[in-house]
């Protein structure tokens, strides 16, 4: 053969859903050992295309060539036999089973659990993805769960690995680890299809990129030769808006006060909170940087009321609320966006209208204990329109939305509740660049209307863009917040890694 043959070639793939054309005449090709990025806004059709390749969704028309041969992949088992592995955007692990049992579940051949555990350990170590095969999945962090998914693909010696937004929930360190693994796989000849909204990641990792918008291919690029701005422009079809943080002129008073909050985690792999104090004032955004697993989940639960604590440990607008549950704190003006959207922030099987009811029922959606479903519907419609949620309408089930769109819906729903205090975990996980900018600006505007906002995020850039003050949560301890102008990314980064300087907690004072 004269020229090397493409590992995968897609020709004129189309897929129509009742309400949208998800893929419209898509063609692309991936060479052996190539890391190929798919770029596009939330709802551009990236996941649908990947599921078609993996046989999880059937295309309406078009052809797929595998090593030059035309193939018809009608189910994932067949795709796996060809050598295609996929890590989904939403994980599909059983929480009550161990890592190795979860992996065994998707293997197509007969297995022996003990031998498999050894293999899992071997493969995970070879690719720098350490995993304890016998840990139960519910005790794993998001990053570790993803490792399970990746390792279970690697066990089948894939020739093409598809990763759908693998890093939207990973820590920066975990991302570096993952990239090493992927580069190593590529050097062994594995082709990789890689979806991410983080443009700098794409630039450092990928050899080529296909850009999609509204279900169509709008261009191809060599990411290294582009800038994040030019890539963003190709994705959203216009310049990326820049966030502006206007000064706040309203009255300043504390809305959230946390006073010497200590909390032992009841999860054996959790982090206990140690003596946390924090104030968030009306009109400001306080950012908490830190890597998940350092007490983030515990702090969020204690603030939202999902875990109740000592009465006087949490104050909301001057009232001690530590002992109140989430519902009663919401009655007092708190809203919350959790990091898990499906299953916590939204009920997967229910429609968006019914998910609006989840926290929106205080907005006059019920009377005499009966629900006015038309109001919930109208609320959902408004949220969809205002936050540009791409979906099949208020009747669409939450789980049918792509991750970023569901995030927009949940953030939008909480903002529309007219809060006094908003707590947001990872506001833009999995949200595309255009929508991220929009969400950040919305948070800024909301704070300037007098709302106190607390943002917990792993993305430093994001925190520096929107926060007025920044603190770091590491190993269950919170550093004193610093004004953004005084904080520098490097020292915050060091603190995130847990290297507190001795004086840090006492000396630095937070200007109001």
């Amino acid at each position: 053969m004269s020229s090397p043959e493409a590992r995968l070639k897609l020709l004129h793939i189309s897929k129509r859903y009742p309400s949208v054309v998800a893929n419209d005449d898509i063609s692309l090709s991936v060479m052996p050992g190539e890391i190929h990025a798919i770029l596009g806004e939330n709802g551009a059709g990236k996941s649908t295309l990947m599921k078609i390749i993996y046989g999880a969704v059937k295309a309406d028309s078009g052809e797929m060539l595998w090593d030059g041969r035309q193939v018809n992949v009608s189910n994932p088992a067949q795709a796996r036999r060809l050598g295609i592995g996929m890590v989904f955007q939403h994980f599909s692990l059983f929480e009550t089973l161990s890592v190795v049992e979860n992996i065994a579940l998707v293997l197509d051949e007969a297995f022996d659990l003990a031998a498999l555990a050894v293999r899992v350990k071997e493969v995970s170590e070879r690719y720098g993805l350490p995993l304890d095969p016998h840990r139960l999945v519910h005790s794993l962090s998001v990053g570790e769960r993803q490792r399970v998914e990746i390792v279970r693909c690697l066990l089948q010696d894939p020739k093409l690995l598809i990763l759908d937004e693998p890093t939207s929930v990973l820590t920066p360190q975990a991302v570096q680890k993952l990239f090493e693994t992927l580069r190593r796989l590529a050097s062994e000849g594995v082709s990789i299809l890689y979806i991410s909204h983080k443009l700098h990641e794409i630039q450092s990792l990928c050899d080529s990129a296909t850009i999609m918008r509204g279900g169509k291919v709008t261009g191809t690029a060599i990411p290294r030769d582009e800038t994040p701005a030019s890539l963003a422009r190709m994705m959203i079809g216009r310049e990326l808006p820049v966030c502006v943080a206007p000064p706040y002129h309203g009255p300043v008073h504390p809305v959230l006060q946390v006073e010497r909050l200590s909390l032992a985690s009841d999860d054996p792999f959790g982090t206990s909170l140690k003596d946390i104090s924090l104030t968030v004032n009306a009109g400001e955004i306080v950012g908490i940087a830190g890597i998940s697993g350092n007490g983030q989940a515990e702090l969020l639960a204690a603030l939202s009321g999902e875990t109740t604590v000592d009465r006087e440990a949490v104050w909301l607008a001057g009232e001690a609320v530590g002992h109140l549950d989430a519902g009663r704190r919401r009655d007092r003006g708190l809203v919350f966006v959790p990091e898990e959207r499906l299953g916590r922030g939204a009920v997967p099987a229910l429609s968006l209208a019914r998910n609006a009811l989840l926290t929106g029922h205080r907005q006059g959606m019920k009377r005499w204990g009966l629900v006015a479903f038309d109001k919930a519907q109208a609320f959902a419609e408004q949220c969809i329109a205002r936050f540009d949620v791409r979906c099949g309408g208020p009747g669409a089930a939450a789980r049918s939305l792509s991750g970023g769109n569901l995030q927009k819906f949940i953030v939008g729903r909480e903002i529309m509740l007219a809060p006094k205090l908003m707590i947001v975990a990872q506001p833009t996980w999995g949200v595309d660049v255009g929508a991220s900018a929009f969400l950040r600006q919305t948070l800024l505007d909301l704070s300037r209307s007098g709302v106190a906002i607390l943002v917990i995020s792993e993305e430093l850039e994001e925190l520096f863009e929107i926060s007025d003050r920044i603190a770091v949560l590491a190993a269950g301890r919170l550093s004193a917040p610093q004004a953004r102008e005084l904080a520098d990314a490097e020292s915050v980064g060091l603190q995130m890694a847990g290297l507190f300087t001795d004086t840090d907690a006492e000396v630095s004072h937070a200007p109001a």
Binding site: A77, R81, G343, R344, R354, G369, V371
Partner: protein
């Protein structure tokens, strides 16, 4: 080996088709059973499912049996949706019958008009109390309600047996373990002379409508549904989990208690050891067969009542054993669970 893998999007259409598949499979296997017993399947089915409905009396009996099943299943379905599994409705029925029957024994002879309403209220309270015990045990000590509700059923039947052998035994009853026959004031009035169907039917109709409205429109029902579908989302929204447990168990106990009164103040007419032919257990099947939907439950309850009737007819005219009713109920549940398993999961295709 794991042969099933979960489906991403279980079909809603299939969920409603599953009961029909289960019924068809039950009939199929049932006919093999009849054939193996040396009876003509067609004739047997005629005796089982058609003959009972050829007379007005048969229809009346059908309603009498369907009423308690439908009533209990309505209450159970509320909890099942919230994943609170009360499988002790039989015990709650007995305690409801004891509470209501106690009033009937004590005050029936006064002939006062308040006796029957008081029995109904007492029965509801009795059943609700018996449901409240597992609720307390679960919210306080985290005790599995599947075990406690079932175990309390045995406590209830011993309680009934004690009362029937002791304090409440009919002094002129030749030492049979049964109470006096209730006075008219302690009985539901007959709707049609000559038939046993009585005015407790109105309670059931009212209950079906109330549960339908509750399910379709109430915020509480929504909360319970969220608690069942995604417990973390319920915690996130601040829906109190303990309240869900209390409500589910108390409401299902209450309906079972009502059904108990319906039996002792209706067709049974006294307290004795056979006030229920397992309605509390059969109602579990009815709830799932009716897809936990108030109107679906009405259809399912009617079918289950027909199986009871057919079972009796089969004993009489085909000389079949009494176990035939249980066999049909069991097959129905088995095939329904089987169908559901394939709606939520798919068979894994072997590689190679």
């Amino acid at each position: 080996m794991h042969l099933l893998e979960p489906r991403a999007q279980p079909s809603q259409l299939m969920r409603w088709t599953a009961p029909l598949i289960a019924i068809a499979a039950t009939l199929l296997v049932g006919s093999v059973l009849f054939w193996a017993l040396g009876k003509s399947p067609l004739d047997s089915f005629h005796v089982f499912f058609v003959e009972p409905l050829t007379t007005g009396y048969g229809w009346s009996e059908l309603l009498i049996k369907a009423c308690p099943l439908i009533l209990i299943a309505q209450g159970l379905a509320i909890g099942f949706k919230a994943r609170i599994y009360n499988i002790g409705a039989e015990g709650q029925l007995i305690v409801g019958a004891l509470f209501g029957g106690g009033i009937g024994i004590a005050y029936g002879e006064t002939g006062a008009a308040w006796v029957l309403p008081a029995m109904v209220v007492a029965g509801a309270i009795g059943g609700a109390l018996w449901g409240a015990i597992p609720a307390l045990l679960k919210t306080r000590f985290n005790a599995e309600e599947t075990l406690t509700t079932l175990m309390l059923t045995y406590v209830a039947s011993h309680l009934l047996s004690y009362m029937m052998h002791g304090p409440w035994r009919d002094p002129e009853g030749m030492n049979f373990p049964q109470s006096i026959l209730f006075d008219d004031a302690a009985l539901f009035g007959l709707l049609v002379e000559g038939f046993r169907i009585n005015s407790s039917l109105w309670i059931v109709i009212f209950a079906v409508l109330a549960f339908w409205l509750f399910n379709a429109r109430s915020f509480l029902a929504y909360r319970l549904e969220v608690g069942g579908l995604a417990p973390a989302a319920a915690r996130y929204a601040g829906f109190p989990a303990k309240q869900t447990v209390w409500f589910s168990l108390v409401i299902s106990g209450l309906t079972a208690g009502l059904a108990g009164v319906g039996e002792v103040a209706g067709p049974v007419g006294q307290l004795n050891l056979n006030i229920s032919p397992g309605y509390g257990f059969a109602a579990i099947i009815v709830a799932y067969l009716g897809r936990l939907h108030p109107l679906g439950i009405v259809l399912a309850g009617t079918l289950m009542a027909l199986i009871y009737l057919g079972g009796e007819a089969a004993q009489l005219s085909l000389q079949m054993p009494a176990a035939i009713t249980g066999i049909f109920q069991g097959m129905l549940l088995f095939f329904l669970l089987g169908a559901d398993a394939f709606i939520d999961n798919r068979l894994r295709r072997r590689a190679r």
